[in-house]
Amino acid sequence: MLSIAEQSFSSRLLTGTGKFGHPDILKAALVASRTSMVTLALKRLNRQHQQDSTLQVLRTLPVTLLPNTSGAATADEAVYAAKLARELLGTPWVKLEIHPDQRFLLPDPVETLRAAEQLCEAGFHVLPYCHADPVLCKRLEEVGCAAIMPLGAPIGTNQGLQTRDFLQIIIEQSNVPVIVDAGIGRPSQACEAMEMGADAVLVNTAIATSNDPVATASAFAKAVEAGRESFLAGAPLAQRNASATSPFTQFLETLS
């Protein structure tokens, strides 16, 4: 079972709450995804948050809330947002997102590391969204992040695992869970990330903006499970040459 900061999660599919057109669709999709951890943007939280429609939905589901700092452009802003989230929602979990770049919303490595250091010190369970940079991921691990969230492609692009080779290195080296975040557009891509050995994936846009969010959420749930099972089973390596299903060398066994 996936374990982050000593808490167990029944699902390896993390989801988000943005981009859905209606709270009812959000709810049905989250149920179908069988997710156990859901991120929500603190900046979208209605200040009279008892009335917040997203939060109302989340409260009815067996999920851990993962507030995110989306909108923050500096470490200071992200730390502020994380502390506000802890105060309003009573949770130590935070998905650290700092993206000053407004076009591709790419994470700022310098500010992210700075904020991660401060937040870990302040007792948060920090899950930083970061580039698929193996050294940065090690640095984030060293300052105490509970997991790391390298991107597959720019957020919301559905391009899949463009950073494949670096994700592989990150997965190989990490001592904390690796959650591939951003860019996963199809269940097959989520499956691929899991087969590579990622501990989990986070998918939002692909579910929320699909023609049928509920069916897509269900497809992602299955793909993540299949990918995990395949990883555990030891997916075979690709090779150039054909390999017969019934090898002719079987006759060797009959020889004395």
Binding site: K19, G21, H22, E77, A81, L84, D101, T209
Partner: protein
């Protein structure tokens, strides 16, 4: 003035000739382009693209949903004054118009805020009029602290200010400034703006640069469609946007599509009418070439038009707007800048969005971001 300098290199007539020469083949290749740029934008706003409007709309819609999801952000304008120290031949607030001039007092502002909050808004656009001395920094220093705590996001439509003043506005809690060039046609600009600081075309053109240098979180651009050829004006607005995005990579940008509306004392007739269909074409072209830029549509447009166009590509929507100072707590048509077309209540607009599968987002920012 990085982007203004580069923009001044573009000659109106050259741009115009280039865009009117675009062919259907250019339009098709623009629609297939993986990362469309300015030449593609020109093709998509050209007359040749009118035939491809359905494909443009589909593409724009898909890009909008991918980037912004099934959501639209809601905001409302609050007119602080109708004071003006400029003579602009197309505007109801122009200084020679004999209308009663008002500037809201702190108490009136509180009344307005109460009325606005009752409607559910959490994102506010302050419209200040353009009067440096009577509605300038001294007034903003006084009233912004009264307003800021009540809203998660604060935008301002204000006369061009200095970089230092913009830095002060950032500190006072302003997240976004909207400043429209009106027209990028220098000679026409001179004919429309007869008196006041606004006569200075270049000072206005350099305004987004000053905002970028001051670290303003978001900058709103646009041309007042109808003042000159709307296509060429839009082509130059788009170039301005490209240049600004490169220069100020941490800044968000928004585009608005104001069309000339009848106003008090109005003798004005547009040079270049933009039809409903052409406005849709323009909105789609922006979306296709700028998937990340926030597109805004005001209550200048009718409910019917907004109902059909908003789901296509719009990200920011005003509702229940009053365009005269004090209009939310005490309604009087006499002072308004222009008459609004979509007069539905905020609740009605929100309900109609939900019915179309779009969730209205009222809160999408933290006051402390960007300070």
């Amino acid at each position: 003035m990085k982007s203004a300098d580069a923009l001044r290199q573009y000659d109106w007539d050259d741009v115009s000739l280039t865009l009117y020469a675009k062919t259907q083949r250019d339009v098709q290749s623009a629609l297939r382009h993986p990362a469309p740029g300015w030449q593609e934008f020109l093709a998509l706003i050209s007359p040749a693209a009118e035939a491809s409007l359905p494909s443009m709309a589909e593409k724009a819609n898909a890009l909008t949903r991918q980037r912004f999801g099934h959501t639209v952000s809601m905001f409302v304008p609050l007119y602080l004054s109708n004071l003006c120290a400029n003579e602009c031949t197309y505007c109801g607030f122009t200084m020679s118009n004999k209308i009663r001039r008002v500037k809201l007092s702190p108490q009136q502002i509180k009344d307005e805020i109460r009325a606005i909050k009752t409607m559910g808004f959490d994102s506010l656009l302050l419209v200040t009029g353009e009067h440096e001395t009577k509605a300038g920094m001294a007034y903003f220093n006084e009233v912004l602290p009264l307003i800021r705590p009540h809203f998660s996001h604060l935008a301002m439509e204000v006369q061009p200010l200095s970089t230092d003043d913009y830095r002060k506005l950032v500190k006072l809690g302003v997240d976004s400034v909207l400043v429209y060039q009106e027209t990028y046609h220098r000679a026409h600009y001179g004919q429309y703006h007869l008196r006041g600081q606004k006569q200075d075309f270049d000072w206005r053109l350099e305004t987004p640069d000053r905002l970028g240098e001051a670290g303003m979180n978001k900058i709103g651009l646009g041309a007042l469609l109808g003042l000159s050829d709307w296509r060429t004006d839009s082509a130059l607005t788009a170039m301005h946007l490209y240049l600004l995005q490169k220069a100020y990579w941490k800044t968000r940008f928004s585009i608005a599509f104001p069309r000339i509306k009848p106003c008090a004392g109005d003798q004005f007739s547009p040079v270049s009418d933009i039809t409903d269909k052409q406005l849709v074409q323009l909105i789609c072209a922006y979306r296709i070439c700028f998937p990340e830029v926030e597109l805004s549509l005001s209550t200048r447009e009718s409910a019917t038009f907004r109902n059909s166009v908003v789901p296509l590509a719009i990200n920011q929507l005003s509702a229940a707007s009053q365009t005269q100072p004090g209009g939310y707590s005490e309604k009087s048509d006499a002072l308004e800048q222009f008459s609004t077309e979509d007069t539905r209540s905020a609740n009605d607009v929100a309900a109609s969005l939900l019915a179309q599968g779009i969730e209205p987002v009222w809160t999408d920012w933290l006051q402390q971001f960007g300070r």
